[in-house]
């Protein structure tokens, strides 16, 4: 215990310089003692750094290149959105971070995932178990199926606290009560003894968030956290997550298909298509000035509440490609109205078009010119 506490002190000094925000956390029980010690001599800039990650599924129909060489970073305390349609690899990419890909059929075949400077792909199973839920927590899409139906809400919260932080049962109970209050659950004492089926969808998602927060992680991955919820409840949950991550200085990766949710909450956005990140940038910049035809198409195809009604929507024609049969060209080419010959043979790399704004398109410059003409 003494050695871990020492490393914790070292870590706290380093991290408080990095984030500053972690100072606010209440360390009443001193249970952050087991926080991940930093390797010596590593200077941490990004909290999470993903480099050329490749995850494939080996099925009877062929090899599915679900995630095909994505790279991005998450800074401490920031909210990064991963946007894309079903099957674009956004969830698989997130599950890969925590190595929750079912193997077989899936496998991470290449790349690096550096969390606080340490490559998670080199970590042992035991080390990964310690990281999951303590340093990186996850909020899943379906609050109906991701809670254990035969355990009480209280037990599901205290289990994590006892396992990761070595808390005693009464301490864990007290902390669970506090957490439920923090996520806005009324009458938390009674809720602790209830089972998931007693709770509504919104309440269950609040419990999921409490579970994610219970070890004060540095990073929360939220995979479509509000897709299964009604709009008024969605607004409640998103406000709660925004408020808590800001207050506790937790970094957040939000995976979603809802462009409105991204606009309201994300600092930076990664747009994915067919297993690749095709555009990245500051949220405002991406919406104002999209530099990839797919992002432009997505933004145009949603009916907007704030603009006058259009006669016709402007959809992206065609279907997303079959991920088992990708050729060397740009996967968006068959649906793209800006495509040129080069798109068929060479996949464009994600390159800076304007400061921190990246696009993987040969026509990124033509796009802005056409846009100006169109508007």
């Amino acid at each position: 215990m003494a050695t871990t506490c020492q490393s914790w002190i070292v870590y706290r000094q380093v991290s408080s310089i990095d984030t500053g925000a972690r100072e606010i956390l209440p360390f009443r029980f001193g249970y952050a003692c087991n926080a991940l010690p930093l390797p010596n001599g590593v200077s941490v800039t990004a909290l999470l750094e993903i480099e050329d990650l490749r995850t494939q599924f080996f099925t009877s129909a062929g090899t599915v290149q679900a995630v095909d060489g994505i790279s991005y970073t998450v800074e401490p305390g920031e909210t990064v959105a991963i946007v894309g349609e079903s099957g674009c690899g956004k969830s698989v990419g997130a599950l890969s971070i925590l190595q929750l890909i079912p193997d077989p059929p899936g496998r991470i075949v290449g790349g690096a995932i550096r969390f606080q400077g340490r490559d998670l792909l080199q970590a042992s199973d035991q080390e990964m178990r310690d990281i999951r839920g303590r340093d990186i927590a996850m909020v899943f899409q379906e609050p109906m199926t991701s809670l254990n139906p035969v355990l009480t809400i209280g037990r599901q919260l205290t289990e994590t606290l006892e396992h990761h932080l070595g808390m005693s049962r009464p301490d864990a109970d007290a902390r669970a009560l506090e957490l439920l209050g923090m996520v806005g659950i009324s009458d938390p004492k009674r809720r602790l003894r209830q089972y998931p089926h007693h709770l509504s969808g919104g309440m269950r998602q609040r419990v999921m968030i409490a579970m994610a927060l219970c070890c004060e992680p540095k990073l929360i991955i939220a995979d479509e956290p509000t897709t299964a919820l009604d709009v008024t409840i969605q607004a409640q949950i998103l406000e709660l997550m925004k408020d808590l991550t800001k207050r506790l200085g937790v970094a957040l990766i939000v995976i979603t298909h809802n462009l409105g949710v991204v606009a309201r909450y994300a600092d930076r956005v990664n747009v994915m298509y067919a297993g690749k990140i095709i555009e990245r940038g500051d949220a405002g910049e991406i919406y104002r000035n999209p530099r990839h035809p797919y992002t432009l198409g997505l933004l145009r195809s949603v009916p907007r509440m704030d603009l006058p009604r259009k006669d016709k929507l402007d959809p992206i024609e065609g279907q997303p490609p079959d991920l088992t049969r990708l050729d060397g060209g740009c996967p968006f080419r068959p649906r793209c109205r800006f495509a040129v010959d080069r798109c068929a043979t060479e996949m464009p790399r994600l390159e800076a078009v304007d400061g921190e704004h990246f696009s993987a398109c040969w026509q990124a410059d033509a796009l802005t010119a056409t846009e100006r003409v169109a508007s």
Partner: protein
């Protein structure tokens, strides 16, 4: 507690469908051998509206507000507990299943989930041809298949897909098959029950455009049930908002979105994020507190009163009736 029929004052052409004081209560039973009802889920509790020929009425609300049950009652898939459903002058509730059959040809439905609403063991062609066969409209198998190919082409699919199975198709393609099946009997009226909710944005826009094209081409009337208000705003002429089995607001589409009156409608509109960070971060968000109460034991008075920012004492005891605050704009709230 009968709700005033809102559309009566504003009907110009004769309505195709009139729904009057529709109620559907599902019993909750107890006991193994002798079942007795101990309570009722009031899924729909006194809803009235008209749909004019050629118009699209949007029916919006959150899960459990009774919008799907309203659609199922119109289709007579669930027999209403009370109220009238008059389609083209005929009260559907009075008819037995044999007498309903010819009317069923004229009222069709497109379901939400393109994965579970197609029989996985039937070919696409057979799925679309089945209604034609069941209603005996085209006894000749060859001519039936010609019609199927025509329908597939109308819905933007390759006619060769008639020989495929549902699992070979994507979600968007399956939803087009669902639309082709609904069109196979040349209906007048189609109920779209969350018809585009399960689709990705780029595909959703394609299907919305298809629905609009078909409306013009075949003079269709739609009841468009959805929870996505931005889609409803794009597609509908008039919009009705439901909450916990009651209708809280009914108005022309532009009027409802520009000038919402009921506090629930206002909160619902405020909760929808706009895909533009500049606007989204600048505008005010009115987040509703609490959750939708249970329809088994709804709050007394106005069902919205526990979550309502405007609620006064009277809201707990008196049920507000729909009243016309402007021509064609009906609101069930005493405080607006």
């Amino acid at each position: 507690m009968s709700v005033a029929a809102p559309a009566e004052a504003q009907v110009s052409a004769a309505p195709l469908l009139q729904v009057r004081n529709l109620k559907k209560h599902f019993p909750i039973t107890e006991g193994i051998l002798i079942q007795k009802a101990v309570a009722h889920v009031k899924a729909v509790d006194g809803v009235s509206f008209d749909i004019r020929r050629g118009e699209t009425l949007g029916l919006v609300g959150e899960s459990g507000c009774g919008k799907t049950t309203t659609g199922r009652c119109i289709l007579q898939l669930d027999r209403p507990t009370e109220g009238e459903i008059v389609f083209d002058g005929i009260n559907l509730n009075d008819l037995d299943s044999r007498a309903l059959s010819p009317l069923r040809q004229r009222i069709q439905v497109i379901f939400q989930d393109p994965y579970s609403s197609l029989n996985p063991r039937m070919k696409i062609g057979d799925i679309i041809a089945e209604p034609i066969y069941v209603h005996g409209l085209e006894p000749d198998a060859q001519k039936r298949m010609d019609r199927v190919r025509e329908l597939l082409a109308v819905c933007g699919l390759n006619p060769k897909m008639a020989d495929r199975y549902p699992h070979e198709m994507s979600g968007g393609q399956r939803q087009r098959v669902g639309i082709a099946r609904a069109l196979s009997l040349n209906p007048d009226f189609i109920i779209c029950d969350e018809a585009v909710s399960a689709l990705d944005v780029s595909i959703q826009a394609q299907v919305i455009n298809l629905l609009e094209e078909l409306r013009e081409k075949f003079d269709l009337t739609y009841l468009f049930i959805a929870h996505d208000l931005s889609v409803v705003r794009h597609l509908c002429h008039r919009v009705a908002v439901m909450y916990l089995g009651r209708m809280v607001e009914l108005a022309d589409c532009d009027e409802l979105f520009d000038n919402p009156q009921h506090p629930y409608t206002q909160a619902l509109l405020s909760a929808i994020p706009v895909p533009d960070p500049d606007i989204e971060r600048a505008r005010e968000h009115r987040v509703l507190k609490g959750e939708v109460p249970s329809p088994i034991n709804p709050p007394s008075g106005c069902v919205f009163n526990p979550r309502c920012p405007l609620a006064v004492e009277g809201c707990r005891s008196d049920i507000p009736e729909l009243r016309e605050v402007k021509p064609g704009h009906w609101v069930a709230c005493t405080e607006v």
